[in-house]
Symmetry: C2
Subunit: 556 residues, 2 copies
């Protein structure tokens, strides 16, 4: 079997203007980044078409640490739909360099279902993440500069500043820092830290903004901290939002690339789903809906994270009406939830699969809560036994849920035709079933409870002293109408990464609640989740290199 990067390199890429033609985009509307990437101008968005095209969300069961191929499934579903004569575009997030150099080594699909040029997509791409990082860190520099130049009268209490710097890197040692050391010429010493860029509120804003004016307004609404008199301070009080928006002038435009089968792919925005809203930009989704009949998109991790936020935050704010949901499952992950570890993944074990089905069942229930009867896509691995697959099939039938076996990793779009047909049925059957889990008017605690109890399966929510104080502040600031964007481990439906399957009777622990008023949500942080990941003992970076012909190696 070839490696992902070998398959990607062997794929016959078409010039990007040829891909654009499929979407009826004039070459003159393309802003080329090399021969195979282009940015799309926002004027191509057509709200009428947005309303009429069909939107399909791909989510998953709780994944093993390696991931279960949600991106691969999304790409292959779009390719499969094209194979059966439909016009479908896949719309995805941009990879973050953190995981690329950490565990994953790449995030552009796998096998014969990839987006290409995968090297570029995995590395810098068109610079959007860097632009987000710069806009975030410009605001940070302006804040500390305001502290240094006290005479300007903003009177910010440094102890209240909640705006962190960001870096697109897995760098645990930046989580907790002290800055401004070295005497009066070098700033005001204070505690702060770095998040990964994918968790930046600026990224969240970029992914929820409708246009440049909206973007600037949202940036201005970023809450920074308080004055010594207890008054809130926003980015607009520092006149930061203009320069921040200007830094994002290109980043706001979605990127057009192609799949390994030359179907159009739009890739834009990259918030993680465990610590941010976990779906590509609203602009990219609308762009996809404006340009094709069907859009396949994904939301990060499982239904408790990406999908919930896709519905409650993105769809609710963005007025989207999703039409169908796919839940990706693998025999491997079901075994994992049935108590088996990595060493046992390739040994047939239908009983373990059976036991792990509780996790799948919960995710199916979750999608029903939002009004959908999901299609289960079983991402097939060579080591899966027929008996194991039968176990899943029986369960799905008993739950009145359709299941398709996806063999796209090995066979490309051809391997996803069964899935495509079942999804098409679901779309036709349910043109607009969607309803959100909570209303924005509810209190912060009510919104958190709805997610924790209904979706995660918790019996209760417990707030730390700090979290209580944070809610008090949120209420005092009149921000209780904001949405809720949970930060929680992706390894469990609960906030304890070790609880597999379908945890019950647990209490969800809210450690603190950050305010992201620019983006329009608050971020309750559950359990021990970190907003800046670390590198593993042997980082993927060590194996990334290039060979004598200049080909990049070690991305997969």
């Amino acid at each position: 079997m070839k490696s992902d990067i070998e398959i990607a390199r062997a794929a016959k890429m078409q010039p990007i203007q040829e891909i654009a033609k499929q979407l009826n985009i004039q070459a003159d509307d393309l802003e080329f980044y090399g021969k195979y990437k282009a940015k799309l101008p926002l004027h191509l968005i057509d709200e009428n078409k947005v309303r009429n095209a069909k939107l399909i969300l791909v989510t998953a069961i709780t994944p093993t640490p390696a991931g279960e191929g949600k991106t691969t499934t999304s790409i292959s579903l779009a390719m499969g739909l094209n194979k059966i004569g439909k016009q479908a575009t896949v719309v995805l997030r941009e990879p973050s360099l953190g995981p690329v150099f950490g565990v994953k080594g790449g995030a552009a699909g796998g096998g014969f279902a990839q987006v290409i040029p995968m090297e570029d997509i995995n590395l810098h791409f068109t610079g959007d993440l860097s632009a987000v990082e710069k806009a975030n860190n410009l605001l940070a520099a302006l804040i500390d500069n305001t502290l240094q130049n006290k005479k300007r009268g903003l009177n910010i209490d440094p102890r209240t500043i909640n705006w962190k710097r960001v870096m697109d890197m897995n760098d645990r040692s930046l989580r907790n820092t002290v800055i401004g050391l070295g005497g009066i010429a070098n700033g005001i010493p204070r505690e702060t830290g770095f998040n990964i860029t994918a968790a930046s509120e600026v990224m969240a804003i970029l992914c929820l903004a409708k246009d440049m004016h909206h973007l600037r307004k949202m940036l201005g609404n970023i809450y920074i901290g308080q004055t010594f008199d207890g008054d809130p301070v926003f980015a607009r009080d520092l006149k930061a939002e203009g320069a921040m928006a200007v830094l994002l002038k290109d980043a706001i435009k979605p990127n057009l690339v192609q799949t390994t089968e030359n179907t159009p792919a739009i890739i834009h925005g990259g918030p993680f789903a465990n610590i941010a809203q976990g779906t590509n930009s609203l602009i990219a989704t609308k762009m996809g809906l404006s340009l094709s009949d069907l859009v396949v998109t994904e939301a990060g991790f499982a239904s408790d994270l990406g999908a919930e936020k896709f519905f409650d935050i993105k769809s609710q704010y963005g007025n989207l009406k999703p039409n169908a949901v796919v839940i990706v499952a693998t025999i491997r992950a079901l075994k994992y939830h049935g108590g088996i570890n990595k060493s046992g993944f390739s040994i047939p074990n239908p009983q373990a699969v059976e036991q792990g089905l509780a996790n799948l069942e919960k995710h199916i229930e979750n999608m029903k809560l939002f009004g959908f009867n999901p299609v289960v896509a079983l991402n097939r691995f060579a080591t899966d036994s027929d008996e194991e697959i039968e176990v899943v099939k029986v369960k799905c039938t008993s739950l009145n849920v359709k299941m398709a076996i996806n063999e796209a990793w090995e066979k490309g779009g051809e391997g996803a035709i069964d899935l495509a047909e079942k999804v098409l049925e679901a779309v036709t059957h349910c043109p607009s079933c969607f309803n959100p889990l909570y209303n924005l008017e509810w209190t912060i605690e009510q919104k958190i409870s709805a997610i924790a109890i209904q979706l995660y399966g918790a019996k209760a929510v417990e707030y730390s002293l700090k979290a209580h104080k944070d809610i008090e502040l949120i209420n005092k600031l009149g921000m209780n109408y904001l949405a809720v964007c949970m930060a929680k481990t992706q390894n469990s439906l609960s906030d304890n990464p070790d609880l597999r399957g379908r945890p019950e009777g647990f209490t969800l622990n809210i450690r603190e609640i950050e305010i992201a008023s620019g983006a329009g949500f608050v971020i309750p942080i559950a359990g021990t989740i970190m907003r800046m990941p670390g590198l593993p003992a042997i980082p993927a970076a060590e194996n990334i290199n290039f060979d004598d012909e200049g080909n990049i190696t070690g991305l997969f």
Copy 2:
């Protein structure tokens, strides 16, 4: 008078493939970044042509804090040479966001001598600085990750680590930090700090590398610190250089843009001249020389900084043979050196100009030390009186140096024809006069002394205890053969920013000496210069915005 950004926007841009045609580049060799920017593949470099084309360096007298228009002069000189029938390309550095959002608001020339699209060039451009930043910070993350995962056995003594993180931002509060706080999950606490990206050794390496393989090798040679046993640790010991080089795979390619008169401009690499080597990449210079008969390039700040490093580091390592030197002067700066402050700049004062000439004279002497009889380009301002200009003219004549009045800011290339003609004479007269100031075999102290005493005019060099220890370490590591890249204030020929004119009898104070063995030099830090700038009380960022038509405002 229109603002720079208005002039830039009014300029009639040609599609970048048209500019490429002027240089006989096939459209297929261009990697487009939008319609008006493109990256150039390295195979266009032709060493034969590099040897035969002519290279003109633009330097300056000691500038006022606002700068004296060196970039403007370089651009206009190239335009002027084209006006008189020569094929000339201007090769420049990329702007850093730090100064753009700090004092300067932009760095792409001025008036009718700009490189365009100036908004893009000033903001992210093609992502090169971000790539440098990522490569630098990946190494930092790998270092701290190695400390965290002790079992891997590199045994690095955290107290010896000299590798800092970088950010392309003026952010003084990041100069001195403590990272790794928060307990065992969050790294090893240690003191460190951030430099601005333009001062990164990775930037220096990018600007001195010959190709991807050379780049990777140089990255591997980066000195990080020592083990507890006192052995040196390099980036290659962490297997970092492959991934770092891969991050720079696009950044290594020079960027083609155009001037406001559609002459070709290559912009690539962005090290500052006060804290790094201060000239565009060697690759870009060679690209320019491969593609045109004449290349005009600049080195940052005055002859004591950018020009010295251009000759001693870049030309010596890169085997370049510069053919002529231009020294930019302004009546304003001469008055400044004659003791006048900003409020008096526009009031005619020939005596102050006369007094300030000592500074110009020293820079002329400096260029003679390298074997050149420079041409003085007097950048004319509307407020300059004829009498003041006459003072400069008389002085230049007495020194046997040609002087041209440059009116390009107001008139574009037309205003630089006199300069172009005089420079052409200098080139013809002196096809290869260049000799460096020191040989690499000299000791570190000898090299520093040569620069300090001969070029700065110091009477002696004093080393701090730390600097002495640094030299000991450098010698112990066998790195005494490295070049010397001084970090020193740009506001004075001395290390004291308040000493104007031609300071004499001063002692140059070396605070410490950093090792940049990957780039091939050591960095003696003189006086109080900082490698991370700060923002002013009212940063330019506050005025950067966009109007209702989407046009960017506040860049100049």
